[in-house]
């Protein structure tokens, strides 16, 4: 119930995240995923990108991924619009 407030030590900055799931997801899901952008990734995957308010919001997004029965492949924090800070798991 107690959602972390913006002043919490963890996740205080809204960060950009990149969430990779299995399957090609239609553009229409963008609103469902709080306005994250959707783009095709490698090998029939979909990459969701966008700002995420805090850790609680990120968990909310991941839960939505789960609700649709999508297979979660990777979650990375990245610079706005840029490439991932860590990319080891992609190769």
């Amino acid at each position: 119930m107690d959602e972390p407030r913006a002043t919490d030590a963890t996740g205080s900055d809204p960060g950009w995240y990149r969430i990779c799931v299995q399957g090609r997801l239609a553009q229409r899901w963008s609103t469902w995923f709080d306005g994250m952008s959707l783009s095709p990734g490698p090998d029939g995957t979909t990459v969701l990108r966008g700002p995420v308010g805090d850790q609680a919001a990120l968990h909310g997004l991941l839960q939505k991924v789960g609700d649709l029965g999508l297979i979660l492949l990777e979650v990375t924090q990245e610079d706005p619009g840029g490439s991932g800070r860590t990319s080891a798991a992609e190769s």
Binding site: M1, R5, G23, W29, T31, G44, G66, L68, G69
Partner: protein, 911 residues
Amino acid sequence: MSHALIETKFFRPSPRPGRVARPRLHDRLDRGLAAKLMLVSAPAGFGKTTLLADWLAPTDLTGGAPGRGAWLALDPADNDPTRFWRYVVAALQTALPSAGEHALTLLEDRQTPSVEVFLTVLVNELGKADGDTILVLDDYHVIESPAVHEGVAFLLAHLPVGLHLVMATRSDPPLPLPRLRASGDLVEVRAADLRFTAEEAATYLNGVMGLELRPSDVHALEGRTEGWIAALQLAALSMAGRQDASAFIAGFAGDDRYVVDYLVEEVLQRLPADVQDFLLRTSVLDRMNGSLCNAVTGQDGGRVMLETLERDNLFVVPMDDQRHWYRYHHLFADVLRGRLLDEQPDLLGELHAHAATWHEHQGDIAEAIRHFLLGAQFVRAAELIETVLPALRRDRRETTFRGWLEALPTDVLRARPVLCHALAGARMSTGEFGGVEELLDATQEWLDLGGHASAPPGGQIVDRDEYARLPGDVAVHRAGIALIRGEPEQTTQHAHRALDLAGPDDHLTRGAALALLGLAAWSTGDVTTGHDSYAECLGEFELVGHVSDVLGCSVALGDLEVVQGRLSAAVRTYRAALELADGHHTPVLRGRADMHVGLAARYHEQDDLPAARRELSVSRELGEHAGLPQDAYRWRVVMAAVREAEGDIEVAIDLLDEAERLYTGDFLPAVRPVPAIRARTWARHGHLDAALGWIKQVGVSLDDPLLYLREFEHVTLARVLLAQHERGVASTDLARVVRFLDRLLSAATDGHRAGSVVEIQLTRALALQRLGDDEPALTALGAALHLAEPEGYVRTFVDEGAPMATLLAAAGRRTSSPYLARLRSALATGRGTVSVPALPLPRHESLVDPLSNRERDVLRLLDTELNGPDIARELVVSLNTVRTHTKNLYMKLGVTSRRAAVLRAKELDLL
């Protein structure tokens, strides 16, 4: 708000005709009856609910179900622990009609201390039922509340024989799964198990759906959907009535779109426009009937539409036998909502508002509020929340209204002072102070504007009494914050303000303000004001029947009376509270145990040790749950005093060690710290190094400024230094100690703390005697006796041993009185020579899962030198049997070794 329960939550979906039989999974669930928890954990659309419903349904083959099934479909509102457990008991009652009746009364009683008390009673009640009961908690993943998880973990740890817990969930719950797995108490059915195998897929597509697909097509579908049942169902729907099934499958298999996107598109495309529209609009509903659908769509014919959808297998699930309520399959609902959000986002608020209004008319205010919040109609939501607030408070549903209030935007909240204030109170009650002052300020601001005379903007005053109470309540909360910050002056100011503002009949506000006033005064040593405030506060709570609060106040009042040296008044306080409690019919009343501990302390002072023990055991028998937070530590402090008086010094020290660990402040000032009590015991019995260590540790010195909060420690310091002199190892000038005691005496006298005066005078008398100042020593003793005699002090004198005997003898040569004679005879009996049979050690707790007779036999032998084979011979059983008993014993005792088992068993009086 009514207590009406939503019946559909207990409805176990009936098996559909022609479903795919899944004997391999049923076998595994049957095995789960030997475990504590069955966990069916997989994403949406894997057939979890269907599997469990089928498994629980009586079958033609076996003629019966595996046990009585109780079903509970959870929803996010069940994160409120009170609601959650109310529904669990109601679900169990569908299988066992009288299950948990007694427990339920506890849950609904404000005086019940905690959910654990309720659960303990529930576990005991369920333990008496015969046969197996299977409780299914469907959609457990909606539960996020740690309080609910903790309760469920407690239930699991103490699960009665015959009750089996089954959870269907999309994510693993935060329960001790690895431990359950390791002990064989967890049986799992996971996504990999739930997927349709090739055979099951073929049975479904060709057998159930009658599609007559070729094996290669079945194979292709199974591969593309990876056995995901929801996807196979969608695929089957897309193909129904098609001539070109193979072409469809080829197209589907060759496409890498998310399967659900692809298939829902196919299914929806083939539906008429009005059906598509109906599906999209009603997707905002978690449960729906015809009338509700009509309200949301603005059309007629909702009921017929729902029946059609069910007939066509379009993912509606009936929620009762009458086909009155339905819901969409969760995955399908999410997909529909996703489309609605994308295609007509503006419609969302409107749809939720329709749904909310419908529920409001039906009297389901909670659901109406939920929809208003979802539809971002915050003003309407706030208005409704305010109407149900008093009822929710009464029903202990703080979690529920707090969740709603946290969802409101600041501007809406600020316009409604009652809600602002309620949120502040809800946060404070869980120890969170973030944003509380801002909320109180907002409430205050509104009040200062003369707002109480008029309605808040955008609404009318819902409950005039609630508004009338606001000014006083705000002041009470501010006083509480000040107290926690350690600011007694501000506490007093706010508390006085609260009393000025509260109406004469507003007993709760007045009671709270008076208690805060009492605490603030007490912490500064003004025990007169402390006492009078508490006495008045107690009266306010008694007027409104808050018995548990009266008992809580009586603890403080008794303490204060002891400091005032009015021991008989303290006894009257405890007895009056017990009498009041007797007239109250709540089975477990928190605070009763504390009253008996208070009485025990008084008997101890009178040197009536058997009576003190009697009160302590009465307190213990009432159970942990009858005690306020401080009871556990206070009980040990008094028992330690009794044991010390009986001569068991080591036991007394052990008890004080435990007391120190169990100490909790519970808002009361820490005026008698356990380490100081222990230091006195050490000093009295010659453990000077330990006592001096205490001085170092707490850092007290004869040069300290005098603060009432340190009075007990300061007197202790004087006593330790005096004990050093008596042992002839002194390093401090005793005259300095006497001067320190003089300062303490004058502070205690000024503060009208006669109880403190008795003690300080007595210590002074002993110190002066040691210095050879006989005359002043006898004067000091006389002053102590003068105050002590009418109140019957004994142990305070007797505990001082030989030096006190000398002093009393000297006093006896001058005057004689029955009181003096009594003290001298008590001293002559001597400490440590009183022979009292050793009583069992106090119990920390008792085992929830009692030992069997055989386990007791094994336990008895574990406390010998016998090895495993010897024990087996002794009991005439196999070594394996001994091992099994031992393993169960260890588990019940919560230990992992023989030595620990014996120790623990002794602690629990089992040996």
